[in-house]
Symmetry: C2
Subunit: 225 residues, 2 copies
């Protein structure tokens, strides 16, 4: 597991949570792999308590499975789980961008504009690795504009199911097209054009389509069913 640096103000629990999420998303912690509270606490140089609290939270999001007195395991990729996450993201993103069209104001425009401009800048400089983080932030900002930021937070951990499968996909290179999507979304929101905005969300998410069969053939041991 890749151990990140602990921020000085960060609680041990938040630290453990951050490290675990990152490693599950990046598949450094592999689906099906056993993890132990004791091992992790040794590795992170904190006690069992905060590690355990982080594990419990991830178990609530079905990212870890806890079998009492037997062990805890990184959840296998469950196609049903992935589908529920995708479904939830689609309906929520759609409704939220519509609301954003209603709620957008000068402040919101600035928030989104700054982000997209930066994405375009990094794209033009070929610094595509910077775009990933801005991509996530852009989606969060739309929720903020729509005054639905709690929903974003609540769903964020669940979306790891979706995102880690994406990370297994070979064809994640076409990421540069998303910057154009974001620009178009922003313009639609500014124009309060709900119909176009919703179409863009649909188009945008279709880029994240995953070829389950292909991934499954490469890594069958990662899958639940």
């Amino acid at each position: 597991m890749k151990v990140l640096n602990k921020y000085s103000r960060e609680t041990a629990r938040d630290f453990a949570l951050r490290v675990l999420k990152e490693n599950i998303l990046s598949l450094e912690l592999k689906p099906g792999m056993a993890i132990s509270e004791n091992e992790l606490s040794a590795e992170l140089k904190i006690s069992r308590t905060p590690v355990r609290e982080a594990i419990i939270e991830l178990a609530k999001a079905y990212l870890i499975e806890i079998y009492p007195q037997r062990g805890s395991f990184i959840s296998l990729i469950d196609p049903k789980m992935v589908e529920e996450a995708r479904f939830l993201r689609k309906i929520t993103d759609t409704a939220v961008i519509e609301t954003a069209c209603d709620e957008i104001d000068e402040e919101g425009i600035k928030l989104l504009e700054d982000n997209v401009s930066l994405q375009e800048y990094y794209l033009s400089k070929g610094m595509t690795d910077k775009i990933f983080e801005l991509d996530n932030q852009f989606h969060k900002d739309i929720y903020v504009v729509a005054k639905k930021d709690i929903i974003y937070e609540i769903h964020s951990t669940l979306m790891i199911h979706f995102d880690r499968v994406r990370n297994l996909s070979v064809a994640t290179v076409k990421d540069f097209k998303v910057v154009g999507d974001h620009r178009n979304m922003l313009e639609a929101i500014k124009a309060r054009d709900k119909k176009t905005a919703v179409e863009l969300v649909d188009k945008h998410l279709s880029r994240y389509q995953i070829d389950e069969k292909e991934i499954r053939s490469k890594k069958p041991e990662y899958f639940k069913v």
Copy 2:
């Protein structure tokens, strides 16, 4: 706080969680009220650890606010939070009932039919207190039919924000009309009539409309803003 009976197989953590949820929903634990891990563990006759773990989970759902070294408090009613929960329930219920229309089969019909029949029976006998639980189960069953039960689970804790405000409302007596709603929803799903089903969800949720002003004037100290 009303302490429930602990099931023999239930872990101490699940027990604490169940008791806390129930008391927050019923407003036995009042918004803004201070709670202490030590007090609760004494009251529930379990140690601090499982109580603490339950509190952390509820804090993640914004039902409890933890201020380190100062104390933990039942969250005040936050209109933004209530609105986000209502928004989420509406869009999710809508999308899920459409999916249920696609996925319904004999087994699903039986599941829903058994529930609604029982509701109708209790209604005819005037045993309206039994209907509350069946109401929740009916909604969950629709998610099950639509193969979206994880989404139901993930959202259930969040919906307490919405439901506890409903419990403060005087006009919750018109509950008997929901049985008719449920019958109509079931028939729409059986007929795979998405348009009608969605209209019914909308109509159904409109019954849960809350008069914030009225509640606020009765209990202003419960509100955040």
